[in-house]
Symmetry: C2
Amino acid sequence: MGRMPERVPGRLPGSPPTLADVAERAGVSRQTVSNAVNNAELLRPDTLERVRAAIAELGYLPNRAARNLRTRSSHLLGLRISPHLEGTAEATMDRFVHSLVEASRGAGYHVLLFDAVDRTDPLAGYDDLLRATAVDAFVVTDTYLGNPQAGLLDERGAPFVAFGRPWDDPGAPHPWVDVDGAAGTRLATEHLLDRGHERIAWIGWRKDSTIGEDRRSGWSSGLRDRGLPTTGLASRVEDTVASGRGASAVLLDEARPTAFVCASDTLAVGVLHTLADRGLVAGRDVAVVGFDDSQAAQLVLPGLTSVRQPLEQVAVEVVRALEGVMTHQPRPEPGLLLTPTLSVRGSS
Amino acid sequence: MGRMPERVPGRLPGSPPTLADVAERAGVSRQTVSNAVNNAELLRPDTLERVRAAIAELGYLPNRAARNLRTRSSHLLGLRISPHLEGTAEATMDRFVHSLVEASRGAGYHVLLFDAVDRTDPLAGYDDLLRATAVDAFVVTDTYLGNPQAGLLDERGAPFVAFGRPWDDPGAPHPWVDVDGAAGTRLATEHLLDRGHERIAWIGWRKDSTIGEDRRSGWSSGLRDRGLPTTGLASRVEDTVASGRGASAVLLDEARPTAFVCASDTLAVGVLHTLADRGLVAGRDVAVVGFDDSQAAQLVLPGLTSVRQPLEQVAVEVVRALEGVMTHQPRPEPGLLLTPTLSVRGSS
């Protein structure tokens, strides 16, 4: 499919009233209507009154493109989305999109979604929108280690707020909002400790995932603070159900844990599969806690206890930070770290 | 949070080149640059060449607001999203958003997401965008019986394409794309018949759901065509896991089915819960098929067979239909019905 042809001009039946319609109704020139909207002080009070009455009667709103040109504002926030993942319990981004749309509405903004033709290019999609000034600011969600996106946007003077810490450069000046993953896994670990577990295993991501290592630290510090062992109880794998299944089978054989904390619900679902394979009952024989409070966590039997990110709050804080960025207001601290909660279900 | 203040004008360091920058670089007036972009035939060839070289060197793109004003096109498609549902296997809309963003990109469009403050108002959110001509067209997804949205947009001359049939008014003139739900449940039923099942139960939505009744008809016609009974084998409930669990328990006691076809994965997950309660193994003792190929279907044990809507194809066809609407091209037929597939997993 080629590019879409421009829309053929011409007013459709029932289409919104134009400036010309207001002019006709009020019996004035179009310039006078324009002045009534933009420079009311130029008009005689009775003329202004007549134009305003016509605007109200017709329900006229200035064309957004014209208003955008005048205010240099599109009232749009750009968000690049990643391809939809199948076969995983990934839930964060779709929930965040909903929350961001709602938080933006309160601030008079809409969300423009885009994706990238070339996903290896960290600025793909951003560049066109930047050069066409099609959005007022971006919400950036890919801040994993080694992704130069935030730095590149900084260099270009593009207004943005990141959902995610600048792992590469903790001193980066741009505003960000993030969820404290380590606090979440610590919460999960303490929940299991409180229920009497002492041999708690960890299944997380590979070592090059800073987010994964951060989540792992909540588990290890939680155990160490109670003088409990971590050695031999941790596994680092790919984020798939099969990896969670395989890693939990090995850990059960070699380390005999009575509980698992996982870096994701995807991995935790793999643990549930291993338990079912062995005739063990999750929550009775072995406890399992995941991370993300996904649809899968809510629906699997017996319900998967999971760390829940406060995405509604993240969205509100991202929009608040964007307001500051767009009005060039200094921030006391660039970053804001929010604390997750634990959704407790049958698996623990 | 109040409305966001307008962005303070003034070029930021690294911000995109402007028409004035091009004029300075080429040593011409701004009007000449504007002519080079919009009315190239007015310029002498050597001047045009010089301006074009400056445009290329600076990477200048005309401001989108200015271009929008000229072409009366925002290059945005509006999509109203519903609140995120927790505790269900609802998957269609998030997958569709991803597919629509991708299909729109190919046509030079971005997707603008909005939601409604007042969700009881079928036009909430649409009205503001319409009056401000902030989008070129809408993609409408709420076409359930009794929702006057499509009719209201039609009356206002708003360009739109519906994902979903006009159930209220099969002769409605607006373009639509939909998935043949009855064909999907018929596929599911025939899959079970081919595996030797003869007592196949239905768990669907209440009778006032036309989509639910359509899906039910695929199950009932599939059985009737083989001379098999449907009486006493069907249940109509709310779309919740608890309802699916309860309805399947009653059907197992009273009608002894060996297989279930469900109107949603949410209901099918409820059936899986009932089987687990009774020590029955899904796929070995009783077969289960859901609808939507959700994350839950892909992750639950032993994997839930499910009807999969071809949402990527729906998105491509919606964008194609929008191209037709925006260029006022006549369509041979307003509607296009696509056929779903069956993702077969362990539960059947």
